[in-house]
């Protein structure tokens, strides 16, 4: 039963992912990306991690993609320029993807790329949020802090960039 659902979600995810890079209209590809992220969230639920699924929907589908759409709509990226971008990179992209696929297939078929379930039983995982919270704030506290610092830097960087631009523009005005 679970496998059937996994295949449904996986197939939709792959198809929409291909659609993201192949459709001409940037707004349509943003929509396909939303569908793709939703499938990934569904797969997280199959993997017994509802917290990750909710966060995936909340952050990627809810926040990041809205900003993405916002930018696409404001910038008004033309259909032509988008397809031109694809053109020059098509051959290297195909080679890279084929190479990655070959490596992944080889690793999985030899059994060196596995994801063991970890030391958690089904009952422990029903309190999924607690497990993740404890792991984040004890075992992985250092990477966690580094990531939050990185995000803070990005945030301040964006504000600084905007302020600088504004100052220059104001100076140029007669």
């Amino acid at each position: 039963m679970e496998q059937i659902f996994f295949y449904i979600f996986a197939v939709i995810a792959v198809v929409t992912a291909i659609a993201v890079v192949s459709v001409r209209n940037p707004v349509h590809s943003a929509l396909y990306l939303i569908v793709c992220f939703l499938q990934v969230a569904a797969i997280f639920i199959l993997l017994r991690s509802p917290f990750l699924a909710a966060v995936q929907v909340f952050i990627y589908v809810g926040a990041v993609m809205v900003l993405f759409l916002f930018a696409v709509m404001v910038l008004d990226v033309g259909k032509e320029s988008f397809s031109e971008h694809m053109h020059s990179q098509a051959i290297p992209a195909v080679i890279t993807v084929a190479g990655l696929l070959a490596v992944a297939v080889w690793l999985i078929s030899t059994g060196s790329l596995t994801a063991p379930l970890g030391p958690y039983t089904e009952e422990a995982l029903s309190k999924n949020t607690e497990v993740i919270g404890k792991a984040l704030y004890t075992q992985y506290i250092f990477p966690f802090e580094v990531v939050s610092l990185l995000l803070l830097i990005a945030l301040i960087g964006a504000v600084v960039l905007v302020l600088k631009d504004k100052g220059r523009g104001a100076g140029r005005r007669p």
């Binding site: 209209n25 707004v27 349509h28 929509l31 939303i34 509802p50 917290f51 699924a53 909710a54 966060v55 929907v57 909340f58 589908v61 809810g62 926040a63 993609m65 809205v66 900003l67 759409l69 916002f70 709509m73 404001v74 029903s126 309190k127 999924n128 949020t129």
Partner: protein, 342 residues
């Protein structure tokens, strides 16, 4: 072949989803009537009066009108997205109700079986609700973009900026409630507030009322109601993102808006006003669901009251309230709540 018990459980879930969906589809009928009546009486008018006694049949007349209206798709509109956008708004608004608890559990009299009054008690309930209700904004943005009209596009852009800004404050309010009740599950949240009204989160002094005000303001902005209905500002944007929509597609947007208002009302009750718990011990047995519905109805009335009392904010004022007032207050309040919970 799965056994009978599993099949029955699946059937029960299907029945529950069906019942909730039917109720939600029917809700806008009384709500539109009520909204017009409230508007009328606040403005010293009668409101709807002609169709049926006290205008009670007005919503049905409106429904028939909307069904028979010509469905216009603007020239050069993106047809697929234009038709899809009302659905994208409506589905998340309904999907939220999977996690909303209406009561604990009741005995069904004839088959002697205990049935829970919620579809699913997720252990990430509040996160699920915030995440899914955030998806509704795509319908607004895509509908605005697909209409190929400048008013609709500007309305869509405004709504996306507004939603993103106030979602942050709303999530902070949810974090505050999670800290006060130690759980992400809405059922656990209500159970933590059982007892008299003094154990409700709103009376968790001094932080409870602050969280509630943050939640209420952010909620008003999330459901695009006055004083934050910048997305459909008649004065400057015609009708905002749904300028080009007519007939049933327009009705779907309205339906989603009313369902979102009900969601925010029930969430406010569940998170701050003790859900289905009675405020005081009453000697007469009153079913708990009565309290939930009564409190939610009070909130719905409050939202309508506000709509016809307050003027609309300017766009820059909206952003200032969101980013420079609500979020800093929420951060300070988070710190205070943290110290209180140690």
């Amino acid at each position: 072949m799965p056994d009978i018990a599993t099949l029955l459980q699946v059937l029960l879930i299907v029945v529950k989803v069906g019942v909730v969906t039917m109720i939600l589809f029917g809700l806008p009928l009384p709500l539109t009537w009520l909204e017009r009546k409230v508007a009328g009486h606040i403005q010293v008018r009668l409101g709807p009066w002609r169709v049926g006694p006290h205008g009670l049949l007005q919503p049905f007349a409106d429904m028939i009108k909307l069904l028979f209206k010509e469905d216009i798709v603007p020239y050069k509109a993106d047809k697929l997205l234009f038709n899809l956008a009302p659905l994208i708004t409506m589905v998340p608004a309904f999907a939220v109700f999977v996690a909303i608890p209406f009561g604990d559990s009741v005995m069904i009299p004839f088959i002697n079986k205990e049935v829970t009054l919620y579809i699913s008690d997720m252990n990430v309930g509040i996160l699920y609700i915030l995440a899914i209700s955030g998806l509704g904004v795509y319908g607004l943005i895509l509908g605005g973009w697909a209409s190929n009209s400048k008013y609709a596009l500007l309305g869509g852009l405004r709504s996306s900026a507004q939603m993103i800004s106030y979602e942050v404050a709303m999530t902070f309010a949810a974090v505050g409630v999670v800290m006060m009740t130690n759980s992400l599950s809405l059922v656990e949240m209500v159970k933590a507030q059982s007892g008299s009204f003094l154990s409700w989160n709103i009376f968790y002094l001094p932080v409870g009322p602050v969280w509630f005000v943050i939640f209420l303001i952010a909620g008003l902005a999330e459901i695009n109601r006055i004083p934050f209905d910048l997305t459909e500002d008649e004065g400057t944007l015609a009708a905002g993102f749904h300028t080009e929509y007519s007939g049933m597609k327009f009705a779907f947007f309205m339906l989603a808006e009313y369902v979102a208002m009900v969601t925010i009302s029930i969430l406010a009750v569940v998170m701050f006003f003790g859900g289905w718990n009675a405020p005081l011990e009453v000697p007469v047995p009153i079913p708990p669901i009565f309290w939930l519905v009564a409190k939610a109805a009070a909130f719905i009335y409050f939202f309508m009251w506000i709509r016809f009392t307050l003027p609309r904010y300017r766009y820059d004022q909206l952003m200032t309230i969101g980013w420079k007032i609500l979020i800093p207050v929420a951060l300070v309040n988070l710190l205070v709540t943290g110290f209180m919970r140690i």
